[in-house]
Amino acid sequence: MLRPDLAGSGASVGGVTTTIGILVAISMLAGRGAMLAINRVRGLSYLFLLLTTVVSVAVVVGLLAGILWSLGWALGVVVGFGTMANAVALAASPGVFAFVVIAPGVGPFLSRGLMAWSFLILWSLTGQVFGVDVPMAFLMSLAASVATLALVAVLGGPASRVRNNLWRRLTGRELRRSSRELMDIEGILEMEG
């Protein structure tokens, strides 16, 4: 499945990874129910957030795949970028369970558990795709994951600003990042509404 040239139909492989990406995005949004509720997201605004989440998942998969591909190239092992992207997308498949993050109290721990699970899959697939041994596959996966997180931290700010601007144009209100903002509204207990 990781090797469309061997598996035959590239379209079906791409379809699976695309489906995984969309399911992961839907599940991630479900897990962030608090953010959806605090912003009263419904209808068109939900579709907007779903689209932006799909794009962000695709970007992260692309970044991670690109970094891993580059590492492999540096080590003299050249694989197709499509193969790498498929592997990373498969590694992201535990994200399909991201909706469990909505659970109170344990949600953040479950999120870290899903991330660890994804990393284990990435580690295993990296070894298979590049044909390297287990320690090398671990180092490559770890380096690529850390580099991706760093890039997301750098690029995330401008991307968030673009998203927030589009949200404001679409809904006419600011996008609340968390319900903590309610605690900063003075006298909210006495307000109508």
Binding site: A37, V100, L182, M183, G193
Partner: protein, 328 residues
Amino acid sequence: MIAQVVVGVLVLILLLLITAPLETLTWWAAQEEPRTRVNAAPTGPKESQGSCWIVYMSGIGAVSGSSPKPEKPLLERLRARLGDDAVLVEGVYPYSVLDHGLTENRDGSWFWRQMERLQNRRFPVLPWAINAYNILQVLVSADRRYGPMFNLALASHVWRQLREAGYRQGSGDPVVLLGWSGGAQICVGAAWYLADVGVPVYMLSLGGVLSSDPGLDRIKHLWHIQGTRDRVPYVGQIVFPARWPWFAESSFNRARREGRITRHEIGPWRHAKSPTYLSRRPQEDGLVPVDDTVNALVDPLVREGLIQRRELPSGSDPEPSEGPSDQT
């Protein structure tokens, strides 16, 4: 077989956890955006009935705003001790944003009424569903993502009850939130919003399970009363990481460092198994647990100057409430 049962139980727990915040989220999503500030006029008696207001939040066995039968002797004795010095406000159901209990005006009310009916049986197994539901709502209150919404709803219910009892905003009258067991966390969460409208907020935690809620930043003082054989409050110390000592700047640890949290150990009372804080049967040394508990609740308020010291005249125990005889 055992593995299948374990997996089934874990899946059930996960399902319950996932659905726990949905009531809060759907409630907030249906609210209008806060707009105009209005004057919160009291809706109760014209004359203030006291200078200290104590709002009681039931433990996790509650199904409605009416205190469960085991808690009534505590409240009756407390009311008798407080006299005219303070107003004891009940009626808030602490474990729902909907301002009414599980047994009325909601889907599944019939189920909860059956659970309530079974609560008085000798070995109430199924009614643990009530406790489980309420524990999950305590988690919702303590969760940083949902707590602000859940606690806002509870604070609004408390605020409405206070005003209906005659509390006047701007009077400076202190409000003491008294939380038993899981009700303590609900009290802490509501404190943030009550203090925001100018209410001086104090808190009494009776065997309470507390997180490091931001509401602690606005509580003037918290007295935590715990029986020497009660282990349940330690659950809060363990499951809420912000209470751990190395999170020095958490709301809980900051409040403790500033001397705004006092822990007071009382008699050998347990949380749920006899003798509990609420037991009326005299012990071997003649001490009555519920009287010891009432003393422990009143003494800090006297020392703080919130109420005057008063003793019940001897032989003037309040009328016992109707219901099954106290076996504890």
